[in-house]
Amino acid sequence: MEFREELLRIIEKNSRIGTKELAVLLGVNEDTVAAELKALENDGTICGYHTMVNWDNMSTEIVTALIEVKVTPQRGQGFDNIAERIYNYPEVESVYLMAGGYDLMVILEGKTIREVSGFVSEKLSALETVTGTATHFILKKYKDHGTILGKKKEDTREIVTP
């Protein structure tokens, strides 16, 4: 794997790892790692260093909603304009343009059901280019960003010789 890609793959899974340790793992010097990280941050390849939280372990009653949105594309702008209007709402976690039965996938995370329904009925549906929505609630997350939630992998290798 190319150096850049390997660096990204490591910090994608562990953003807390320091430049010194990265340098050891990748077999380069620390300055090289620091310079590469800086460059990746500057060109927007690295967009942030987040922590993956399993909110199910917290007692707060919050939900994640996936909302399918059908819209009328605008002349000369396609979907970009309407997507921007939607992603500017701070409560929106992600927005994707989709191929298939609907146009935009809007994800709200860490909200109460009341907040989600308020957002859909009062804000999203009220946009004139939005022609329809369908809201789905996530009941349980098993795996997210490649990580299986709630289960720590155990070493089950038995004793065997030679």
Binding site: M1, I10, V24, L25, L26, R157, I159, V160, T161, P162
Partner: protein, 391 residues
């Protein structure tokens, strides 16, 4: 009652690794660095093919030599990695792990009294398997100053008119040492000169960190006198599937297949179907695992450097072989104290032959977190030993 046991069997020493594992299993919070198998699960698409084989009712024996499609895929694989062509019908035998291949090859080739050259430190099975055939194992002690590579001079020193077979265990367990093309060429010359046969155990061939593995069968004239042993355990993390293979000259493979059919019948069917998938679509998985091992390897080498422990840079398998001579203990004493005092199990180098004295085998088939904790404990232990020495 008469003694029911065979003397030849009784005389074989039990595996030296075993003792340490038995202590580890009694100790609750001990960390083991002793395991010789990958910590990864078999990639899902390979497991899925195994499940699919069950669903489709592929629950019968295969032919003795193994599924034709698998043998063909193995030949394709050797062709694309080594540029060597084998006939899938006559020159390939699917075995129960690489270890069966070693056993079958020795059994098919050794007459009583034939001498088998075994470079050590190395995998512990060669010697007992050779003894069971009535052959005489002749040990070549590999040297640290050569990074535990095999040299033609070392072979020449041990050659007699009874020498028939050379075991070539590279990439090496336990040292992590590899043989590069120039090393192999030098050895090949002696092999041809003395009309020897080679059993080349290349089970770690996919795990090299300095260029791609070169097999001795790719050198001119060597394919005709070599049994190539490989398998799926290390490359695809498929140890439990028990699947390997042997490729070689038709007359040897035919006799190995004869013994295999009487002793084993055939390798497990499910595993053979899964292995086809591994060879067809497993390259990316192998690369992912190799890169992960490589990071751990660099981590360990750096940790030794920081502790001031001498260790040559190994470029293969998933072992490092640090030198512990400065502490004035035998490998076994060191390993035992390390285990009792710091609760970390590493295998003494002597488990792999007398020439492993003064060394420790540390496996990096463990997560980085685990290795970090183990190195913390090693650092603590080393400081303690050094201050003891001063006092």
């Amino acid at each position: 009652m008469r003694d029911p046991l065979a003397k030849k069997v009784i005389d074989i020493k039990p595996s030296g690794i075993r003792k340490f594992f038995d202590i580890v299993s009694e100790m609750k919070d001990a960390i083991s660095l002793g395991v010789g198998e990958p910590d990864f699960d078999t990639p899902w698409h390979i497991r899925d093919e195994g499940i699919y084989a069950h669903e489709k009712g592929r629950t019968f024996y295969t032919s003795n030599a193994g599924l034709k499609e698998l043998r063909e895929e193995i030949c394709n694989y050797i062709n694309r990695t080594q540029g060597v062509t084998y006939d899938p019908i006559k020159q390939v035998l699917i075995t129960v792990g690489g270890s069966e291949g070693i056993d079958m090859a020795l059994r098919a080739m050794c007459n009583p009294g034939d001498e088998v050259l075994i470079p050590q430190p190395s995998y512990v099975s060669y010697e007992p398997c050779a003894v069971l055939t009535g052959a005489v194992p002749v040990i070549i002690d590999l040297k640290a100053e050569n990074e535990f590579r095999l040299t033609p001079e070392e072979i020449e020193e041990k050659i007699t008119d009874k020498t028939k077979i050379l075991i070539l265990p590279f990439p090496n367990n336990p040292t992590g040492s590899i043989m590069e093309k120039s090393d192999l060429e030098a050895v090949a010359e002696v092999v041809v000169k003395h009309d020897l046969y080679v059993i080349s155990d290349e089970i770690y061939s996919e795990l090299t960190y300095k260029g791609k593995h070169v097999s001795i069968v790719s050198l001119p004239g060597l394919k005709e006198r070599t049994i190539l042993i490989n398998g799926f355990s290390k490359a695809y993390a498929m140890t439990g599937w028990r699947l390997g293979y042997a490729c070689g000259p038709e007359n040897i493979i035919a006799q190995m297949t004869k013994i295999h059919q009487f002793a084993i019948m055939c390798a497990p069917t499910t595993s053979q179907y899964a292995a086809i998938e591994a060879l067809k679509n497993g390259d990316a998985d192998v690369e992912m695992m190799r890169e992960s091992y490589n990071r751990r390897r660099r981590f360990l080498l750096n940790a030794f450097k920081e502790m001031g422990i001498e260790c040559f840079e190994p470029f293969g398998a998933f072992y490092v072989f640090p030198c512990i001579k400065e502490f004035g203990m035998t490998s076994e004493e060191f390993a035992e104290r390390f285990l009792r005092e710091e609760k970390v199990a590493a295998v003494p180098g002597t488990a792999f032959g007398d020439s492993g004295e003064g060394y420790l085998r540390i496996s990096y088939a463990y997560s980085l977190e685990r290795l970090e904790e183990a190195m913390k404990r090693l650092s603590h232990f080393v400081e303690k030993l050094r201050s003891e020495k001063k006092a």
